[in-house]
Symmetry: C2
Subunit: 315 residues, 2 copies
């Protein structure tokens, strides 16, 4: 009785992947060109329809990504299933849901582009998310536009709610910046009509993407920024051996904020996440650094092994 019975028109199911890496202190995402898109939206995530031959969703995703980019995936995690708000049956009017996309997050070590896929910095699509060099200047323009949108609300109550959301997600008031709220910030910009995906000709909020791929990417970044704190996923992005300084710069690149050096090192060390190798490297510019490696055993020892970000430091 609750068994899904065949309906006349099943929706299309798409698979999409936000494939993330970090090389040379820059967080990256693998993108592909997308034809037939509005101006400025010709970039997208590797994606394709779920096919009858796919044994599972994840296997289908891996197949598509390999076909489109040549990249084989290691760590893969399902993010969210989107009912695309832009694609409805028969144009407008009574249209129901036409297409779904199951979005995935993938973390890979090496950044070797293939075919016409290219690696881009995350912050090309979300420039305001990078606070490593201090509060980005673009932010002021953005929050001004957002406040104008809040002021243009139909009633004062709605305006207050909008202002609250702006303060909460963009860290006005006392609450401070929360680097995990990437999706909430993008959604707010979308609702305020400040991104091309919402019909704006604007691009002060960063480079647009095809379909709702930028929403998927925002979801992926927020998830990863949260997850590094309680799971040792950063190491999926690191080479087998690395210095603590490199690790810190990768974490900073992902989270978009700078960290306090001494405390970061102590946290990493005392949590047993890494162990020393015998090797050192001299390519860092100052005193040669010891190379470390990830201790896989922590997965068995500690219940919640993550890189709790230690406070932060003024940019």
């Amino acid at each position: 009785m609750t068994e899904p019975e065949p309906t006349v028109s099943a929706p299309l199911v798409g698979l999409a992947a936000a494939i993330l890496a970090a090389t040379l202190d820059e967080p990256r995402v693998l993108t592909v060109p997308v034809a037939g898109q509005p101006d400025g939206r010709g970039e997208g995530l590797p994606a394709g329809p779920l096919e009858p031959a796919h044994p599972t969703l994840e296997r289908g995703l891996r197949a598509w990504v390999e076909r489109q980019t040549g990249q084989s995936l290691g760590y893969v995690e399902q993010l969210y299933t989107f009912g695309d708000r832009n694609r409805r049956r028969g144009g407008q009017g009574e249209g129901g849901l036409h297409a779904l996309s199951v979005a995935y997050l993938a973390l890979v070590r090496e950044a070797r582009p293939a075919a016409d896929a290219t690696w881009q910095s995350w912050y090309r699509y979300f420039p305001y998310e990078d606070r490593r060099a201090g509060r980005p200047p673009a932010l002021d323009a953005l929050t001004d536009r957002l406040e104008a949108w809040a002021g243009a609300a139909t009633d004062p109550e709605q305006g207050r709610r909008r202002s609250d959301r702006i303060g909460l997600t963009f860290g006005a008031a006392g609450s401070g910046w929360n680097e995990e709220r990437v999706l909430e910030r993008y959604e707010l910009l979308f609702e305020a009509g400040l991104v091309p995906e919402a019909g704006a000709s604007d691009h002060i909020a960063g480079q647009a993407m095809a379909f709702d791929h930028r929403r998927m990417l925002a979801t992926a970044l927020g998830r990863l920024r949260g997850k590094i704190k309680y799971r040792p996923v950063v190491f999926e992005l690191m080479p087998p051996a690395f210095t603590l300084g490199q690790l810190q710069r990768v974490v900073e690149a992902l989270s978009g904020v700078l960290l306090h050096k001494q405390n970061f090192r102590r946290l990493v060390a005392q949590q047993g996440l890494v162990e020393e190798t015998e090797a050192v490297t001299a390519e860092t510019g100052g005193r040669p650094a010891r190379l470390m490696r990830f201790r896989r055993e922590v997965l068995l020892e500690r219940p919640v092994p993550g890189l709790r970000l230690p406070s932060g430091r003024p940019g």
Copy 2:
């Protein structure tokens, strides 16, 4: 080029909801009878296929739930999209993925069953998850069976990995019990063939459900148990006014572990999650307790307002 094009046979998309409540110190889930299922698997979650008329996934879900149970939903959150491992095209052989289910978590305040839907305790389906009365006796039998399964591995390396997983998820060794790992525990039991959903005639691991609904329920419980720690979602399950003792018992019911009274009260108070009302209630058996209410303002004030569970107390 990455645009999903129509394929000959799109998969069916189902919607399912784990609707959770907490009444009288017992955590509950709304279930419906499911016809045509194997013996002992006639219970399921409210569910139905996504229909062309549904404007969004969530609206489709709400429609199905209201139709099947009369329950209208408040807080709703998407959980996961499952490619049902039991339903493949054409039986066995080359079969690809035939049906998807997008599963949701819903939290409701009132527990008034309607139609042939009934409220059941979570722990009917996961008896080993309730540690409020100490370590459940059923657990020993379960871990014995699991260890036997680990011992029956094809090679020693696989056996070691299985043993590690058992220790990690069921909290042997030093690691202790982690109440959030509901899904990992269920998946382990599934792989070990100890649940009817995996073909076993056994039910020492709790009451089975139709399709993969128990997997969805496990996902929901794990998510909720994690989420109460960093979001004030418990209050979705509470009446408008409640005593701190009631709140504690609900949190204990959800998490399945007992908490330290004094510290719980202090934590709740000093986090500003609740405020006093003028009323008191005398129905608690001892000294009358002050009725409290949830302070909605914390959502604007604090970045991560949740009920960090204070340690716990020996059961």
